[in-house]
Amino acid sequence: MTRATTENPEAMKTNGRRNNDYSDRAKAERRLGWILAGPAFIIMLAVTLYPIIQAFFDSLYAFRLTAPDERQFIFFQNYVTILSDPVWWRDLLVTLLITVVTVAVELVLGFALALVMHRALKAVRGWLRTAILVPYGIITVVSAYAWFYAFDISSGYVNSWFNWVPGIDQDLNWFAQASTALPVIMASEIWKTTPFISLLLLAGLAQVPDELTEAAKVDGATWWEQMRKVIIPNMKAAIMVAVLFRALDAFRIFDNVFIMTNGQYGTEVLSLLAYRTSISRLEIGLGSAVSVLLFACVLLISFIAIKIFKVDLAGSTGGKR
């Protein structure tokens, strides 16, 4: 096109005019875009960027809410205190453990559920989807209480129903040590959010063209081979988006732990540490530093997912592959 315009001045003229027209329209569209998205953009800045900057600013101070006059600028001392403290590393480890285990289990279960929903007979499909979605529709605090009361030693029924399972008896206090409390917390998290992951995966499954699986079938591929070589590679984008969303969610886990153990006996997670430091201790400086570090961890997870595992957030339809 460039050559055409340089060789033919007439063509260049028309083309130029067309370009101008187009750019006028583009300008108008851009303006409209800004008018439409601008307010939302400004609100987003106000409600997300401003608090982030404020938190970073606060994190450079020794600042206790109940002693505002003693506020003192201490550079990165809060970060040094946090990163040199075993509590931070223990909480990070607990958070990572919960994230990895729950996301892995949810992925397997969610995929199985998605397959069931995908293959289910038309007659039961709607009913099935609704049934699977019920846990996801329950408020997390409510489900956390339900799980807590089920396992609680004084009011729970789990100990008496499952006392035939080795290791479980009437006297098992589930929430008295991390080794039993964390599995309950994780189970509750898995029960609650597997439906979300299965819905995302169902959308991915629906996008795999039937011709591909049929062709594989004709070629004599087993069910497992179809899965491994045709279906899963074709829905990689959906899987990665589901994993990323859930990993970020799981990393910020709060409600379940807050209700069930309140972080006691080594079950504290990073969000709870940030909450306890800022809100309970009213140490705004130190608490902001914990929050900033938590935010940095979340950014890091997103970065790893998007850059290294090449998660395509635009989905399999318009984005780059």
Binding site: P68, V87, A176
Partner: protein
């Protein structure tokens, strides 16, 4: 004709739209009007931030509004359920100079932290409201030797026991008993002691009472700044407290649920087959009575329940029972501090405290309020409660109470992990490091 019909339809639509606009504007205007309405025409409104109860504080607010005869009006506003969350909300509002905090119900351990944000108690109010206040309750309302809040009601733990268990063990409950005696009975009879071993405020309450009962104190210099605070944990009294908690944990005397037991769960255990002795607040009585009336518990259980003063650590030293309750503070940013203190004076008068005890089960801080004969009838243990309050010991009174309490909770739980030789020393080191800003909590 169709054209005409269209025009008529259009007109109707326009008219409908106009009506809709008019109705909406009217609604909005009335909303705005009620928002900025003539609120200033009546008497000044005082807001009282109350902790959740069975409606007793709202009733008192109503009565005092009537007594004020147009001078002021008290409105109540509900704080969150647990004490820690109440403190968080009060601290945030006070630090933000919220002028709506006229009167607030404050748990005694948080008084020092919030004291700088409270309006000073006028001398005449201080004199009139503390005339007959029980020793322990008064101590919980002071900070740096001055009264910073007005005692309203006072809570304390007493020893609840199953008479059948005490009888079988041959314990004379008319005489003071010690923790060692209780542990011995629990071990012999294979019953459970009702104590609170959860990593929660109730743990600090227990540790504090044990240390105070052994003649020690958690905090040596309450008025020191954070980095100079000295703790009395690593002491004979601290080790004695650790021995008692550790033994109960190690030998399973508190039952399998000890590590997560709170006041509520230990009551449930106490009401069960393995119940024996329990340290707990007076709510135990109305709660059990209610369960019996509701049919979920037998009358025989209620008849089997006895009470005594908090157990001693050593035979020859009186026990220092836990102190709780509610004090009233007036916000320094309140628009009407004088009126607020007048209202406080009305709220805490003995008649109101008596009524509050009878209807809500919260014991008075004023000894005069115990004289009403109805109290003895409804709360046969009222005299024990009153006596317990005389000797009750407040928890460490410092603006850094939250750090000390959380630090204790983290290092003294689970109870089976508490060792007299190491726990007091380690917890003192940990809390000191937290206070110096060197450790996370």
């Amino acid at each position: 004709m169709p054209g005409n019909r269209r025009i008529i339809q259009q007109r109707e639509r326009v008219r409908e739209r106009r009506v809709a606009v008019a109705v909406t504007s009217l609604g909005l205007t009335s909303l705005l009007l009620t928002g900025c309405g003539p609120a200033d025409s009546g008497p000044p409104t005082l807001t009282w931030y109350i902790n959740p109860d069975a409606g007793g504080q709202a009733d008192i607010a109503q009565r005092c509004t009537e007594e004020a005869d147009g001078e002021y009006r008290i409105e109540t506003s509900l704080l969150p359920n647990d004490a820690a969350a109440q403190r968080e909300q009060l601290a945030r509002r006070l630090a933000a100079n919220d002028s709506s905090l006229d009167i607030m119900s404050i748990d005694p351990p948080f008084v020092p932290e919030l004291a700088t944000f409270l309006a000073p108690v006028p001398e005449d109010i201080a004199d009139s409201t503390t005339e007959n206040t029980l020793e322990g309750a008064l101590a919980g309302a002071m900070y740096e030797d001055r009264l910073v809040t007005v005692p309203f009601w006072a809570n304390t733990q007493i020893l609840w026991y199953r008479e059948s268990v005490a009888e079988e063990a041959g314990l004379d409950m008319s005489q003071p008993v010690t923790w060692d005696q209780l542990m011995e009975v629990a071990a012999e009879q294979d019953v459970e002691l009702g104590v609170q071993g959860s990593q929660a405020e109730s743990m600090t309450v227990w540790i504090n009472s044990l240390i105070e009962s052994a003649g020690g104190t958690i905090l040596e210099n309450p008025e020191a700044p954070a980095d100079e605070i000295e703790l009395g944990l690593d002491s004979e009294a601290g080790r004695e407290a650790a021995r008692i908690i550790g033994t109960i944990g190690d030998e399973g005397l508190g039952g399998p649920g000890l590590a997560t037991s709170t006041e509520g769960t230990s009551l449930t255990e106490f009401q069960g087959d393995t119940g024996s002795f329990m340290v707990n607040y007076p709510f135990v009585w109305p709660a059990t009575q209610g369960a019996v009336e509701g049919g979920s518990l037998d009358q025989a259980l209620l008849d089997d329940i006895g009470w005594a003063l908090y157990p001693r650590v050593s035979e020859d030293q009186e026990a220092a029972a836990p102190l709780g309750g509610i004090n009233l503070g007036v916000g320094a940013s309140s628009d009407n501090p004088e009126l607020a203190y007048q209202a406080v004076e009305c709220i805490v008068q003995p008649e109101n405290q008596t009524e509050y005890f009878l209807t809500n089960g919260n014991p008075p801080s004023n000894s005069e309020a115990y004289e009403d004969p109805r109290i003895e009838e409804q709360f046969p243990m009222a005299e024990t409660i009153r006596e317990s309050l005389e000797n009750a010991a407040p928890r460490p009174q410092t603006p850094f109470y939250n750090e000390i309490s959380s630090g204790l909770q983290q290092t003294w739980t689970p109870p089976e992990g508490v060792e007299p030789e190491t726990t007091p020393e380690e917890s003192a080191e940990f809390i000191t490091a937290v206070l110096r800003g060197e450790r996370l909590l």
